[in-house]
Amino acid sequence: MSDDAVTPEDVRHVASLARVDLEDDEIEQFTGQFADILEYFETLDEVPAVDQDAELTNVMEPDEVRDSLDSESALENAPETEDGYFKGPNVS
């Protein structure tokens, strides 16, 4: 992956997946930055393998209802709300 140069097209595609509008000069800027980021990740290749945690399986809880958040707390951090709903821009 990191052998392939990052192209402006890649950046446009990723931006569209992330629903972000980018101007042409930003595309150029991010194309360079993407390449840098991928290079940083390559550093991880140098990390030696570590022992895995003991493998867990079948971690489950019984199907019994516990209290939810009250709706006031649930909406507390939302920038905008309406009638108990989270409110956001139109999305299609």
């Binding site: 997946l17 079948n58 971690v59 489950m60 809880e61 019994e64 939810s68 709706s71 709903y85 139109n90």
Partner: protein
């Protein structure tokens, strides 16, 4: 405002194909295909909500509420640091489904993250299963126009339902803003993926009906719940010459044909209509020499058409990767530990042989588990034929007329049993039981004994009937003469007279016998 069907966001989801190519299992329809024929090929992805008390990755209630964002917590709101914990009940339901469709439950199965950005997913990814689903390679037997067929099920996997969106002030494209409710987010879903084994929209409908029945028998699904069944369908048209000598269509021809994925289907009827529409649309395009585009289309129920959706993503864009917050599952042995009830097809067969029912009655009486259970109670206590008439015709007929289901009178089934007992013991006539008592029971919620008493429907004493018989003969010498001179129809007139005298509470068959006996004297 949208219809709340936003789970089918505008993305192309290329169906996952993990079934080995060239698998030696037969395609379900071996039919003769002629040169020049256009063959329709359909495969389904059916999403069913599992009936659990809590969500799949948190213990918020799945109950439907009037207010938005009532059953939410840090996990299903995707708040930072919140960790999912799998619901054992959802896994049990998945294993039951696996057993019912005779699927393999692999030794190990795990969850993946499917990444896409849309506000119905607060985490920006959906926890689902990818290449290690909990059920693989099952099948479901359906009956289409009296013919039995197996539909192959490639896989069935667990995932979480997204939240629901409302587009306010316009359609999905023109709305002013969006309101988001996460009550539904995290409801357990089973996505059931079939092989491309359907050749018509009506086969799809038969399959969905059978699937719903099976899921309801298993007690893992509530068809009455709004949005509990959602269907995506892949449809392509293959030219007849692509079929092999057995009329079967190979994987190569399937892969080569352009298909459309039709989304936003939410019922059997909707599926049949949407697919019939899409089939005609594609066939018309081919007949006019146009190319059918490979795309995602949205079923617009109110207009009865499918419309093209903008395609944004393909499978690689979902960047599936393992969900590290959920350890793998090893539950293949649950298949032996969890029992499932007798399924509709098997029960239908047994009803036919054990109770000697015809196909129609057997199918009516096994349409839901509750009906079948009730029938068996009555049949075992009284008589299978009487029970069939009472449950399949009288009870279901009257319920259907009132737009009710057997589940609506669940706590009154003992009263219905008592009514059948009154008939079985000859305490009231079948006609009165059906036309008066049963109807009053359903309309006025009274118990059968008080209705019988109040309306004086108890069968008249034999003495009373006998004296009415004697009176009728005395009062109608002309009819007696006709009868004696060989006009057997005259007896019906006399029966009518006796019935009138006894206020309809005598049994016409008995009266007929009594009259004949009296006239022979």
């Amino acid at each position: 405002m949208c219809d709340g069907g936003d789970w089918q966001m505008a993305v192309v989801q290329i169906p996952l194909r993990f079934t080995p190519v060239g698998s030696n299992r037969h395609s379900m329809t071996a039919q003769t295909v002629q040169q020049g024929d256009l063959v329709t090929v359909i495969g389904l992805e059916v999403h069913v909500q599992l009936e659990t008390d809590t969500k799949i990755f948190c213990r918020c209630s799945t109950e439907q509420t009037d207010d938005p964002n009532e059953n939410v917590c840090p996990v299903c709101l995707g708040l930072p640091g919140a960790l999912p914990v799998l619901n054992e009940g959802a896994v049990e339901a998945a294993v039951k489904i696996g057993k019912a469709i005779d699927a393999e439950i692999p030794e190990e199965t795990r969850f993946h993250r499917k990444n896409y950005y849309y506000p119905d997913l607060p985490k920006n990814f959906q926890i689902t299963q990818y290449d290690e689903p909990i059920c693989q390679e099952g099948e479901l037997e359906i009956s289409v126009e009296g013919e039995r067929r197996d539909v192959r099920i490639e896989r069935a996997h667990l995932e979480e339902d997204p939240g629901s969106l409302q587009h306010v002030g316009g359609s999905i494209d023109t709305a002013d803003y969006t309101l988001v409710d996460y009550n539904r987010a995290g409801t357990p879903l089973m996505e059931i993926v079939t092989a491309p084994d359907f050749r018509s929209a009506s086969e799809v409908r038969a399959f969905l009906a059978e699937l719903e029945e099976v899921l309801e028998y298993l007690g893992v699904f509530d068809a009455g719940r709004d949005g509990s069944l959602r269907i995506d369908a892949n449809l392509s048209i293959i030219e007849g010459e692509e079929a092999d000598e057995n009329g079967e269509i190979g994987i190569d021809a399937l892969e080569a044909a352009n298909r459309t994925e039709v989304k936003n289907i939410s019922s059997h009827k909707g599926a049949e209509k949407a697919l019939a529409y899409e089939e005609t649309r594609q066939k018309n395009a081919i007949k006019r020499g146009r190319v059918v585009e490979q795309e995602t289309r949205h079923w617009d129920e109110s207009r009865g058409i499918t419309v093209s959706m903008r395609s944004k993503e393909e499978e690689k864009d979902y960047r599936y990767f393992e969900e590290a917050d959920l350890p793998p599952l090893r539950v293949s042995h649950w298949k032996d530990e969890i029992s499932i009830p007798e399924l509709p097809t098997a029960r239908r067969e047994r009803f036919r042989s054990e109770y000697d029912l015809n196909e129609e009655a057997a199918s009516k009486l096994t349409s839901t588990k509750q009906v079948a259970d009730f029938y068996e109670t009555i049949a075992d206590e009284f008589d299978p034929d009487l029970a069939a008439t009472w449950v399949a015709d009288n009870l279901l007929g009257e319920l259907n007329y009132r737009d009710m289901e057997i589940t609506d009178i669940e706590d009154r089934l003992e009263e219905v049993t008592r009514l059948v007992e009154l008939v079985a013991e000859d305490e009231i006539t079948a006609k009165n039981a059906r036309e008066t008592v049963l109807r009053d029971m359903l309309d006025d919620e009274q118990d059968p004994d008080s209705i019988v008493e109040e309306a004086g429907l108890g069968k008249t004493d034999d003495d009373e009937v006998q004296s009415a018989v004697v009176e009728a003969i005395e009062e109608n010498p002309d009819a007696v003469e006709d009868y004696e001179s060989g006009d057997d129809g005259a007896i019906n007139f006399l029966v009518g007279q006796v019935m009138q005298k006894t206020g309809g509470s005598a049994d016409p068959g008995d009266v007929n016998q009594l009259l004949r006996a009296e006239l022979e004297k």
